[in-house]
């Protein structure tokens, strides 16, 4: 791969060259990237759906089950004590990664569960008929449906930020949309379709002035940029481990401790109680109050190794190099006649959606797959945004990058897109 990089036909600018060097330094950590698909080297460009896992994470998983496996928070034996310590140490590490206190970090399955938890446990207690919940048209279904469920139950009203032509959030609407009726604003930190990074700090300021809370769906941002919940000032913040080199089924929900303390539990069961009598129960302290039942111990502990792995690389480096590769990808895609890239907001991230003429994204993705290239085709769980963008077939193709991707892989994808076009126009 190093050699072909040198032979690359176009002269890469310094930022892309550095991004490639960075990618090649870490690519070897990911065994799956050596795979072949349909006889071709895998080009994995579906990172917004899920990322690949480095050897360090695979080893940590094996280590847990080989050396440490026991249930947490209940045994007095050595293994249980060690597993509990590892579990709580992982909480500390993951919390530190987003600059939050450990007790404010609830282990959840994924971002979706984090949103549902808050919509249910906070929403049912704090949202009533006529109250407003503010979202945006670019939200993932996960950040729409739980609020729609809450609205259906309480009679609350959903309102939506629109987007501007370049795919950025239309903050000019903030004055109209954020009012004293607004109870919560729930917004994606980074769009999984447009790559837009939303101005969370500005939204937090406006919302707090109006007495509303802010939930940040950080599924697409935490893997790709340094985040600091204290600086963002948000009230809730959720992210998924599997999109940031971790295993599936583990994620984090940050909640302002004073809010978590007043919220009812989301699920009842073991671990979340202080005391149970036949006529009632009292809750454990936060965050255990929200972790009923045996948690995903193994993956929570490994989540700690995941953030250590990313911290060792440096999330700010990941961000810088991905920005360069994102610019390169958009530039190369834009050279293709009839190709539309969605989302041109300044500082956008590497989830890059596009359509080619009237080719169905499903056709494009199928033909790219035959050439070893994994992209996503579909509505990306953002049907309202597809309607808003007026995409043909209500869908787009999407290439999404991570720090192990190279410009050579982008070149391979571009060549494959040309080949697909020839196939369909033959």
């Amino acid at each position: 791969m190093e050699e072909t990089l040198v032979e690359s036909p176009r002269k890469l600018d310094d930022a892309v060259r550095l991004s490639d060097e960075h990618a090649l330094r870490y690519r070897g950590d990911f065994p799956i990237l050596d795979r072949k698909v349909h006889g071709k080297p895998l080009v994995y460009l579906d990172n917004s759906a899920t990322s690949q896992k480095p050897r360090a994470v695979l080893d940590a998983l094996e280590d847990y089950y080989t050396r440490l496996n026991a249930n947490v928070h209940r045994g007095l034996h050595t293994l249980s004590e060690e597993a509990t310590n590892a579990y709580e140490a992982a909480r500390e590490r993951v919390a530190r990664f987003i600059n939050a206190p450990a007790r404010s970090l609830v282990f959840v399955r994924n971002t979706t569960e984090g949103i549902n938890l808050v919509a249910s446990a906070w929403g049912r207690k704090n949202v009533g008929a006529g109250d407003e919940i503010l979202l945006s048209v670019m939200e993932h279904h996960s950040n729409i449906v739980p609020w729609q469920m809450l609205a259906r139950e309480t009679g609350a009203v959903l309102r939506y930020f629109d987007i501007r032509e370049d795919g950025s959030l239309d903050m000019d609407q903030a004055d109209d949309l954020i009012t004293e009726r607004t109870r919560i604003v729930s917004i994606a930190h980074m769009s999984n379709v447009l790559g837009t990074v939303n101005p969370v700090e500005a939204i937090v300021e406006r919302a707090h002035d109006a007495g509303a809370l802010v939930f940040v769906d950080a599924a697409q941002s935490v893997p790709h940029m340094a985040v600091d919940v204290a600086r963002l000032g948000c009230d809730f913040f959720a992210f998924s481990g599997h999109k940031m080199c971790g295993p599936t089924g583990i994620g984090g929900l940050y909640g302002r401790p004073d809010l978590l303390e007043t919220m009812d539990p989301y699920m009842g069961g073991g671990s979340m109680i202080d005391e149970v009598r036949l006529d009632g129960f009292t809750c454990a302290d936060i965050p255990e109050k929200f972790e009923a039942g045996t948690p995903n111990i193994a993956h929570a502990i490994v989540f700690g190794d995941v953030v250590d792995y990313l911290s060792a690389i440096g999330v700010e480096h990941i961000h810088t190099h991905e920005r360069a590769l994102t610019d390169y990808t958009i530039e190369r895609l834009s050279e293709i006649d009839g190709l539309t890239v969605y989302g041109h907001a300044p500082g956008r991230g590497g989830a890059i959606s596009f359509n080619l003429d009237d080719m169905h994204p499903s056709d494009l993705s199928t033909v790219l797959d035959r050439q070893g290239i994994a992209i996503r085709a579909g509505h990306h769980c953002a049907q309202p945004l597809m309607r808003r963008l007026g995409t043909p077939y209500g869908a787009t193709a999407r290439a999404s990058l991570y720090f192990y991707n190279t410009s050579e892989e982008i070149d391979t994808m571009i060549a494959a897109i040309h080949r697909a076009r020839n196939l369909f126009s033959a």
Binding site: H38, M359, H360, P361, S362, D363, S365, T366, V367, R370, A377, G378, H379, Y393, A395, R419, L423, F424, A426
Partner: protein, 148 residues
Amino acid sequence: MEDLTIVTMDTTIEEVLEDFEYLDDWEERYQEIIDLGKKLPPLDDAYKTDAYKVKGCVSQVWLVPHVAGTLPPTITFDADSDAHIVRGLVAILLMVYSGKTPRQILDADIEGIFDRLDLASHLSPSRSNGFRSMVKKIRSIAGGALAN
């Protein structure tokens, strides 16, 4: 809505299977599938409604069955998709299933045929393109006709 003329393709599944024996790279096979799709007469827009839509995620598929009152009944299908490759696959399905009796439909070895065409992955559950659902739907229509 006017009655659809029942469309039969002039290519048979046997011919397709034979043609595919000579196509050794994926590009030629996909070209063939796309061409089969182009030969499939487009479905009247009036039928492209939710009632005839087969549930799928990425591309849309519509399926309109016609059960003839003969004994045993024969079932013909008109179908379409908004994606070219799926349209071609739909054309292959119609060659196998359309104009057949319920028993013939239920007995057809669709997995075997798609295996021989090296297209088996299109029947896998992860291809949420509605195509697999279409096979299920055709089989359930045949099952229903058989029960009557």
